[in-house]
């Protein structure tokens, strides 16, 4: 199954493109902080939003915040607009791939402090 890019005639694509791109941004931020957490003890300390949960608390709160804030920002910017899907999907796939890479233990442990 392949995705051929075309535009919907029914509704502007902006709001939908906003949430799709936001999912990539959220995943990327998660991967970024997961790797930075290993690379720096200062960032590890910063990410301990909760003593019980440890640095996972900061990583997931920041990633979730990035997802919802990015969604809100792009939803406002692209409100009522038709946005070209191809660059949005390309950016989303790249961000998701980087997010997956950053959360993969073999990768992030290579940066261990």
């Amino acid at each position: 199954m392949s995705i051929t890019v075309e535009q919907s005639e029914a509704k502007p694509s902006g709001p939908a493109a906003a949430v799709v791109l936001a999912s990539g941004i959220g995943a990327f931020v998660l991967g970024l902080f997961t790797t930075l957490n290993e690379a720096s003890s200062g960032i590890n300390d910063f990410l301990q939003f909760s003593d019980d949960v440890g640095p996972l608390s900061g990583k997931t709160i920041l990633a979730t915040a990035a997802f919802f804030v990015a969604w809100a920002v792009f939803a406002v910017l692209w409100r009522g607009r038709d946005v070209a899907w191809r660059p949005v999907l390309t950016a989303t796939v790249v961000l998701l791939a980087l997010g997956f890479l950053g959360t993969f233990p073999t990768f992030f442990e290579a940066f261990a402090d």
Binding site: M1, I3, A10, K11, A16, T60, L96, F100
Partner: protein, 191 residues
Amino acid sequence: MELSNREFWTIIHGMVLGSLFLLAFAGGLAGLYSYRPEWMTGEGIRERATRLRYGIGLMALVAWLTVLTGTWIVYPWYRENLSEVGDDRYAGCEGLQVPNADCSPRDFLLSQASGDTESWHKFWFEWKEHIAWIAPMLATAAAFLVFYYGRSLAQTPFLRRLAIWLFVGAFAVAGIAGLIGALVTKTAPIT
């Protein structure tokens, strides 16, 4: 039958919420895949649009609840530091076959008290605890497409396929996390 508070929340996280998401996936995927005008009447599309909205919207909510209960309720019990005595980080785990009140599941796995178990935490659980959070983001994006486009999703193959890819991505990530969670729980249960 008696369940401890910890066992109760472990069941809510993995067997109720996590399983609900994974089991409902097949229905959601079939609904999205066959959501096309050449296969349905106008009345059928209207009915399907409502069912998809509630179904996939509920799945996105369940995905968020799964990661929230997992990270904020169950995970602190998994990672407690209970076994440290003096300089010996895993003294409380010595000779154990399963974790107990003096040895959390993470310490039990890292102590290697019952065999070669370190990688269960260092690779597998570390992977699971992070990627699981990508599932609700992808599921939310899929749900938004279904809510936003409604019946017109059936008329636009590109958008329907995009919703399917997001939905499948959420399932794949949740499936990996769920499988690892089940296997780690088998080796080192939270008691």
